[in-house]
Amino acid sequence: MPERELTFGAAIREALAEEMRRDPRVFIVGEDVAEAGTPFKVFSGLVEEFGTKRVVDSPISEAGISGVGVGAAMTGMRPVVDIMFGDFLTLAMDQIVNQAAKVHYMSGGKWKVPIVYRTTLGATRRSAAQHSQSLHAWVSHVPGLQVAIPSTPYDAKGLLKTAIRNENPVVFFEDKMMYKLKGPVPEDEYTIPFGVADVKRLGIDLTLVATSSMVQVALGAAEKLAGIGIQAEVIDPRTTAPLDKQTLIDSVKKTSRAIVIDEGYERYGVTAEIAAVIADGAFYYLDTPVKRMGALDVPIPFSPALEDLTVPTEETVFQMAKTICGRS
């Protein structure tokens, strides 16, 4: 029997529906999550199955729903709070960073905050500077939070189920350009642990560490590189916190070259952290400095002629890989 395929969006929806059936404590709150099913239609059908008591349309109050989620999580529920665009995390930062992330430690381990903040990242949707950012580095910086950034429908479903069962606050980033991406998702129950990277393609000549939206870009570049005889290994950390350092280091020890590709801003970003991890763990194996490719350090512009210049592409990754392999 051929393996079942689902879109990224349908995989998210299936994970939520399964967890809501399994655990009556799970509920969704957010803007336009019920009948509208979110602007990306990721939740279509959920309110019909679970009712408005568990799929709750909220006012446009990101800080409010983020805080209400913390209180509900502390007192026996498992909220999934929907922050429509990752850019809107800025409105909720006190509640996520000073409240959700701190409660467990600050209370000496007595209160827990099992909450999931679902949100999006990614540019090239022609949405300009306030709807296109990838701000996962911000929350990855904060002890007490865990951060998942899936790159395939399979990973999205397995990681979201783990996030919902997690005892900690999790920020879960979905690339909004990826909702239509199709991939194999088995019918059988599965979850994916946090902190376990996935090797998306085996190779020996260089390592492409890529996250979320950039995994497909890296895989495309790897295909082109194969055409000129360069075998690239593609590794997806899948969660930035916790980060599976060992798998990254082991790969680079084998290949001696690495490019880290992520759609967040390059400066002080995820690429910086991962490059430092590789430099520290595989320094004596490196033939060349670790390269970083992130979003250009500018507010995301509207015009397609400009926006497309701000994110790494198959072509720019291909060129960078050729360069560090001495094939320019």
């Binding site: 109050s61 409010g64 000496g108």
Partner: protein, 333 residues
């Protein structure tokens, strides 16, 4: 609504005198606890700072006496009174303030973060207004779980400047959540008089969202308690949130180190409140005037509480600091 609130005041009589003596004891406990905290600070025995609750005791006690043990509260940076009134132990409070492992948060929270699941204390919060979402979420959770618990959100009038409060009050009203917002208006946002920071009136803010709102004398524990009883029962029955402004006063500075205060308030003003509107004196005078007790009973309460305080401090001073290995524990559950 002041006049209406007077009508709610529960009478004092021989059958409930024990309750009022208990309220008196709780207020004395808070006052003596924080007097000792001030002493520890002055003697450099306590790390960091603390924000004293002295002067506001009738609010914490009047509110918490109207709650069940399994009801929730969220507290503030000026939170010792709330925690004690909701049932925290003096020993573990002092231990936390001194950064000891026996403290409520194993020494990781300190004065501004006392939390205790056993007494329904979701935690004191050092972000002004920061707990409004948590309290509202606890009320949301109670409704989802079909529980009749209620949640109380304590905050000072300074929190009226924070947007979060308005976001969650709107949700609480829309969804008829069992949460009561208790605004302790002690007139000062840190070192700035409320008249410089707030336009309009306090309760109009809640009324604009269709929330029942009452403003009352927060120095009268009888009035606070009776009014809260009504509001709590209302919320428990599923009839929605309420907002209570308690007009009160903090006798000390914004924090223990805020000694010279003349640049923002006069000594005459402080004297006026301490002499004429002290919550402990007001309750004591009523009880004695109605022949429900005599001074010797009240003196005995004070002596007993003082010895509890002394032994609590001793316990905390002798308690062990957390082991260094604790520093990385409980980041994640």
């Amino acid at each position: 609504m002041n006049e209406n609130s007077e009508l709610l005041t529960e009478s004092m009589n021989a059958t409930n005198v024990e309750h009022w003596l208990h309220c008196y004891e709780q207020m004395v406990k808070i006052r003596k606890f924080d007097e000792k905290v001030n002493e520890l600070y002055m003697k450099a025995l306590m790390p960091g700072l603390a924000h004293l609750y002295i002067g506001q005791e009738a609010v914490a006690v009047g509110v918490c006496e109207a709650l069940r043990k399994d009801d929730y509260i969220t507290s503030t940076h000026r939170g010792h009174g709330h925690c004690l009134a909701k049932g925290a132990s003096i020993n573990r409070m002092f231990a936390e303030l001194l950064g000891k492992e026996a403290g409520y948060c194993r020494g990781k929270g300190g004065s501004m973060h006392i939390a205790d699941p056993e007494s329904g204390n979701l935690g004191a919060n050092a972000i002004v207004g920061g707990s409004a979402g948590i309290a509202t979420g606890a009320a949301f959770s109670a409704r989802l779980r079909d529980s009749d618990q209620v949640a109380v959100c304590f905050f000072g009038e300074g929190a009226l400047g924070q947007g979060l409060l308005y976001e969650v009050m709107n949700m609480a009203s829309l969804w008829k959540l069992p949460v009561i917002y208790v605004c302790e208006n002690n007139l000062y946002n840190e070192y700035t008089h409320v008249s410089e920071t707030m336009a309009g009136t306090v309760i109009a803010r809640a009324e604009a969202m269709g929330i029942q709102a009452i403003s009352l004398d927060g120095q009268d524990v009888q009035l606070v308690y009776s009014t809260m009883q009504e509001l709590v029962e209302h919320a428990r029955r599923g009839e929605g949130p309420a907002f209570l402004e308690c007009k009160t006063y903090r006798y000390y500075g914004h924090h223990v180190g805020d000694i010279n205060r003349e640049y923002y308030r006069s000594k005459e003003e402080e004297k006026e409140w301490k002499e004429k509107r002290d919550p402990l004196k007001l309750l004591a005078e009523k009880l004695i005037a109605q022949n429900l007790t005599d001074q010797s009973v009240l003196d005995r309460i004070e002596t007993d509480v003082q010895s509890e305080i002394e032994s609590g401090v001793q316990f905390a001073l002798e308690a062990a600091y957390p082991d260094p290995s604790e520093v990385t524990e409980d980041v994640y559950a």
